[in-house]
Symmetry: C2
Subunit: 427 residues, 2 copies
């Protein structure tokens, strides 16, 4: 007679989720030292088994090249000893961060003598759906483990061999340090059905975090019954106020747009107060031209195109909502600060907006009225980042209002529970 496992009638995805729940229950109460040991074991194992990982990664890279993938995407997919050392170093950095679990968020003694404590606890099972970069596999697992969660990883099929090799290393290290290996699992199945099943696993999976392009995120947000944390789409604006330091405004504009155009905190639209347009736009267009940026300008911006080194094309309404992620920027002249705010409210994805101003009143009004995860005053939009904010690590940048907003560090991977202690208290 064979014994039936309780999982025998379940789909592979449901089995993985049940195993993750069980692992999550085991690791939730663990003290920091046990979790840090597992993380340090992971970092060591990544270095020891570098050649296995690179061999698996070479398969993905060869497949990508055969499929005619662009070299920039191939580069993001590629692992080498140096990159693996860097990934291992990141894991050690996560181990060094404070443990959010157990933190007393609120505490008081109620009038009746009851002691009330609100304490941070892990979320439970975290699902991450992500695209090509295999380093996300390790980063996400490390952050989830550190915060006492089990993680279900669903990477892209283009990185499947790499992810399998990495997760094998992670699971061996986790298991070897005495924690349940099922705290780290790759979601089985390479097709869309397994993603769909993950999105419908309400009650088994506590939260889904999609990391990747806008279309991936939209799909997850619309189809998931599991609670989702929306991340990353950034149609960020730089507003240059009537009263401004022109050199500072140019420097912040160019940095926000061109320092790394492919990321979500890069600027995509420039708004210029009409009173400063004449002084600012000629400088700005030249500086953008020098940085290799094409400007998609409204009628009033187009007036400054002639006599400038810049490539300026006429903007269409679509430009106002486009996240270029390239050396392009939309640009418009606005009547007032309030008109800039109205433009941002209409078109922004709510990620990051910057004002460059010397006016305290303008800075105050802009930061009050703009409803985005981050508002910068006289600073580049590129600062919206967990590392820059001093969180030590980042699981993504939430652009939604519930649970977490802006860069998410370890505390954002936790929930809380209340502990009520009395000595026989009744109502």
């Amino acid at each position: 007679m064979t014994t039936l496992s309780p999982y025998d009638n379940m789909s592979p995805v449901a089995q993985a989720a049940y195993r993750a729940r069980s692992a999550a229950a085991d690791i939730a109460p663990l003290p920091r030292a046990a979790k840090d040991d597992a993380l340090l074991a992971i970092a060591d194992a990544l270095e020891v088994r570098t050649s296995d990982i690179i061999a698996a990664n070479a398969e993905d890279v060869a497949r990508a090249r055969e499929a005619g993938t662009s070299e920039s995407v191939v580069d993001r997919l590629t692992l080498n000893p140096e990159r693996i050392r860097a990934i291992a170093a990141d894991v050690r950095d996560v181990a060094a961060l404070p443990d959010p679990v157990g933190e007393v968020v609120r505490g008081s003694t109620l009038p009746n003598g009851i002691d009330l404590r609100q304490v941070r606890v892990p979320l439970g099972v975290v699902g991450i759906i992500y695209e090509a970069r295999p380093n996300v596999t390790v980063d996400a697992a490390a952050l989830c483990l550190k915060s006492g969660n089990a993680v279900l990883l669903r990477g892209s099929s283009s990185a499947h061999a790499s992810n399998e090799a990495l997760v094998r290393v992670l699971r061996d290290a986790v298991g070897g340090s005495g924690l349940p290996a099922d705290a780290v699992q790759l979601v089985p199945g390479e097709n869309r059905d397994s993603v769909r099943e993950l999105m419908r696993a309400r009650g088994l999976v506590d939260v889904l975090i999609p990391r990747g392009g806008a279309s991936l995120i939209r799909t997850v947000v619309e189809e998931s019954t599991v609670p989702v944390i929306e991340t990353g789409t950034g149609n960020c604006h730089v507003y240059v106020d009537a009263q401004t330091d022109l050199d500072m405004a140019v420097a912040i504009l160019v940095n926000s747009k061109a320092q790394r155009p492919s990321v979500c905190n890069a600027a995509e639209t420039l708004l210029v107060h009409k009173e400063v347009a004449g002084a600012f736009l000629p400088l700005a267009l030249d500086a953008l031209a020098e940085a290799g940026v094409t400007v998609h300008g409204d009628e009033r911006v187009m007036e400054y195109a002639e006599g400038s080194k810049a490539t300026v094309v006429a903007a269409t309404p679509e430009d106002w909502e486009t996240e270029y992620l390239s050396y392009d920027i939309a640009a418009a002249v606005v009547e007032s600060l309030d008109a800039a705010v109205a433009h941002i409210r209409l078109w922004s994805s709510g990620h990051t907006e910057a004002i460059v101003t010397t006016s305290q009143a303008a800075a105050r009004r802009f930061t009050q009225l703009v409803d985005s995860t981050t508002v910068t005053v006289n600073a580049s939009t590129r600062f919206t980042d967990g590392g820059q904010f001093g969180f030590g690590a980042e699981i993504g940048i939430s652009t939604q209002k519930l649970h977490a907003r802006g860069p998410m560090g370890l505390p954002e991977l936790t929930s809380t529970k209340y502990i009520v202690t009395g000595d026989g208290h009744v109502r």
Copy 2:
């Protein structure tokens, strides 16, 4: 020539949501005094216009009686001058609470000199879907206004006339105090389609909070693309440990079950450690009998039924997952504290679980392992309540892990944003 309003081609629900967004943008930056003035105006207007409200309420009550509604439901629907005075007093209490908006949640100066501040901001547009009690209309509106949000109210059709009359009073008072009246709106349409539209208004409505029975909450959770805060279902457990004070255990059990059985923090299942079953169950069954409670016992509990005054019936597996909300309780004898935890993990809705113990080790283990919004030690489950916790008000009790968990007060009706201030900082 007539001017087309931008709302002319929209459904009535979408129009209401757009108006709410606009109102939300207006009230978000308002200082506390402006919001408190509106709340005090609401409280005064409720008292001045009591007879209008009661006249409308009488229609709902007459309709409910004609439809053969039970007297307890009719009682919950009924308004009278005394109850309206109490509702107005609650609004004044909300006005007296601190304003959560603007609170600096985190703040630091980064190594590069940037000042980073994480500040509480309103969520924006809050949708509340609720059942019969018309007092929720005023409570929810007051809490949303105080926290700088606009509110879309969708009450049950059985209270429609009362809700219309109340919202008329609320809007007049809000408008009269200089705030946009559209910050408080009843969702137009009495049929299911308008609820469905509200649930699909992602991007217009920031959060939906269903308040009511389990089936309402399940529908909203499953069908909504708007983020939802799940509230209220409470299959709460009282676990009596091997080492316990018998009298305290009986008092906490009876209070948890019978002080007010119809609410979500009432106990629904008793778990008794086998070592104390012989001493505890005879006392407990008699006390429950005296309180009018029927016990649905497992085999080992049934052994104590004879010779007891209690009504004890054999439990079926469904009893372990039932939220009775009545003078009924499921009861089982367990092998150990860990077996109690396993039972709770399997069947609980994750609302509130109590342990009654004299053992510090048992209290510590139970609070660590039980994953519910609230764990009580030697205190009734009935304490899980915003009022009891000292929050001054409560919009519901969240049983989910994202954003808010447990009783939700004003801070739980807010999000945050980061303000980054530099003096020309670039990366």
